[in-house]
């Protein structure tokens, strides 16, 4: 078992479109991208966000820029203009995702 911290493997940027938040995860190296492709699933991401994301999380692979794009539905408390949260635009979904730790089996 190996414990890998996402913040060591990737950068991230998140943004809003109504009640959908997308998180682009940018691997720091081609090797890191392969690890992320294998282990950073939509399910892992959804679980990490707990009640912050109420809908489905869809993952898109973006090989040419070594990125994964997570499209999180029902993520912004109804959308920025309705949200009662501090971070109405979901700019820190990126930050919270970077806190994630991946457990990699040997």
């Amino acid at each position: 078992m190996q414990l890998l911290k996402l913040i060591d493997l990737a950068a991230a940027r998140s943004g809003d479109k109504n009640d959908v938040c997308n998180i682009g995860v940018l691997a720091k190296t081609p090797d890191a991208y392969q690890i992320l492709k294998k282990h950073l699933s939509a399910d892992v991401v959804k679980k990490h966000f707990g009640s912050l994301i109420t809908g489905e999380v869809v993952r898109y692979e973006w090989d040419s820029i070594e990125a994964l794009n997570f499209v999180c539905h029902g993520a912004l408390d109804g959308g920025a203009s309705r949200s009662m949260r501090m971070d109405t635009l979901g700019k820190n979904f990126s930050s919270h995702l970077l806190r994630l730790e991946l457990t990699i089996p040997d």
Partner: protein
């Protein structure tokens, strides 16, 4: 091969004009693109227009007219923006007046209108358009809130037309962000935008959209808001905004002014590429649907990155119409407590607030309490340390937020808890100017509408 230089000169309504002024003064671009319309901006502009029928455009246009446009015009640089918002005509008159005061002549302003369908909503429904919600499928007739704005995302054609007519400044309404840039490229290179398009035609349009997408958030493509370049080892107080040197084939080299801060790297561009994108193989715009998955970002030299490889698919048959709805109000406030017992004092304070509000004859539809320093930004997801650890912190804050439909409720609720300053847990620090009373809650009703229901108009205003 001919090249046109386009700068992403503004990323949002309220952005600093300094980067654009530097680019104009150093003749670093041929065109400046100013994007002013985020999803919510039109609702803000509608409030302005209700208060004064001559308003409804992005007010920072007045600053640009005083300090940027004269320099840009002197250097032969043209400006394309959607800052016209809900009232491009009034914006044109205001800008024209400011330019005249400065002795500027031989200047053409073009307005682009036709995206604002608010007044036509009843007629559209009578004509059989259900305006069904894009996600839920519900017809608009079932909506129970008053609409605040209704704007359709329009494409690049009118931008190209206005530039073909010699416009020095384009003041558009809801032209989709990347289409501002595409319009410049269609004008400059004569790219085919409509009709029977070949795959190379579509790929060129897709490249234009990709370039426009990379430019539309200004400094976010040149090292701002960056985890990819963290710890951001370059100046950010004078961040240079991105400039795309675009060739006729649709490839581009992104750079910035040497004199300014920031950075243009493969990292800063891929970080912007993913921003607000859903399916990267199917990025829908009014003019072309774009596959961004084969895009290549190549660093040629420091601060010089080549972008190529976007692929195009035919544009959608319908256009997206976003209707804003007034759903009520949010009122929020912040309070802080220090060591000792900072966490326990926060929870005790929240308990007292709940008890006071329960006794008031007001209707609070929803309330949220978070503790700043613990779960203010990520409620429900942030890991929470145990209370004995939290009680050792020097300070923690409480954020209260309530949703209400009556405009007085927020004031009454916040007034009722001020007594806790003397009656509540010891040592409260209040931050009254941090909170907001009656922030309007808007929900967006996205729908699709046939292109035939939208009539765009380009009008030229001579200064």
């Amino acid at each position: 091969m001919s090249v046109v230089r386009i700068a992403g000169a503004q990323g949002f309504y309220g952005d600093s004009p300094m980067a654009a002024i530097a680019i104009a003064a150093q003749q670093g671009a041929d065109f400046l693109v100013h994007d002013a319309l985020a999803e919510l901006t039109l609702s803000i502009l509608q409030k302005d227009r209700l208060a004064d029928p001559n308003m409804g455009y992005a007010r920072d246009l007045e600053t640009l007219a005083k300090f940027l446009i004269p320099i840009a015009h002197q250097n032969g640089i043209r400006i394309v923006t959607n800052s016209g918002g809900l009232n491009p005509e009034s914006a044109a008159q205001k800008v024209a007046a400011i330019l005249k005061q400065q002795g500027i002549t031989n200047f053409k302003i073009a307005t682009i209108t036709g995206d604002d369908l608010l007044s036509q909503l009843p007629q559209l429904q009578q004509n059989g358009h259900q305006l069904s919600h894009l996600d839920t499928g519900k017809p608009f007739a079932e909506n129970k809130y008053p609409p605040t704005h209704a704007n359709v995302y329009i494409g690049a054609q009118s931008v190209a037309d206005a530039l073909n007519q010699g416009a020095n400044l384009i003041l558009a309404g809801r032209v989709a962000d990347p289409c501002l840039t595409l319009g410049i490229l269609v004008h400059k290179f004569g790219w085919k935008l409509t009709g029977n398009l070949s795959q190379p035609d579509l790929d060129r349009l897709a490249s234009g959209i990709a370039i426009g997408h990379l430019l539309e958030c200004g400094g976010q493509a040149s090292g701002g808001n960056s985890y990819a370049e963290w710890p951001m080892d370059y100046p950010v107080s004078n961040l240079g905004y991105p400039i795309a040197h675009v060739s006729e084939d649709g490839s581009a080299v992104f750079t910035k002014l040497d004199s300014e801060g920031g950075k243009v790297s493969r990292n800063t561009l891929r970080e912007q590429l993913v921003y607000e994108i859903h399916n990267p193989a199917h990025y829908i715009t009014p003019d072309v649907t774009v596959d961004l998955t084969q895009i290549q970002l190549t660093e040629l030299a420091p601060n010089h990155v080549q972008v190529s490889g976007a692929k195009g698919k035919p544009r959608p048959n319908e256009l997206k119409l976003a209707i804003g709805l007034h759903e009520g109000f949010i009122t929020e406030q912040f309070f802080f407590f220090s060591w000792p017992y900072a966490y326990d004092k926060c929870t005790r304070f929240i308990e007292a607030v709940n008890e006071i509000w329960a006794r008031l004859p007001i209707r609070i539809e929803r309330k949220e309490f978070t503790i700043v320093g613990v779960n203010g930004i990520h409620p429900g997801a942030a890991p929470t340390p145990p209370p004995d650890v939290l009680n050792q912190l020097n300070e923690l804050g409480v954020r209260l937020a309530i949703k209400h439909s009556d405009a007085n409720t927020g004031k009454i609720a916040m007034q009722a808890i001020t007594c806790l300053g003397l009656n509540g847990p010891p040592g409260i620090v209040s931050m009254p100017t941090w909170g907001k009373v009656n922030r309007v809650i808007l929900s967006l009703w996205p729908t699709l509408i046939p292109r035939s229901a939208v009539q765009e108009t380009v009008q030229i205003w001579e200064v």
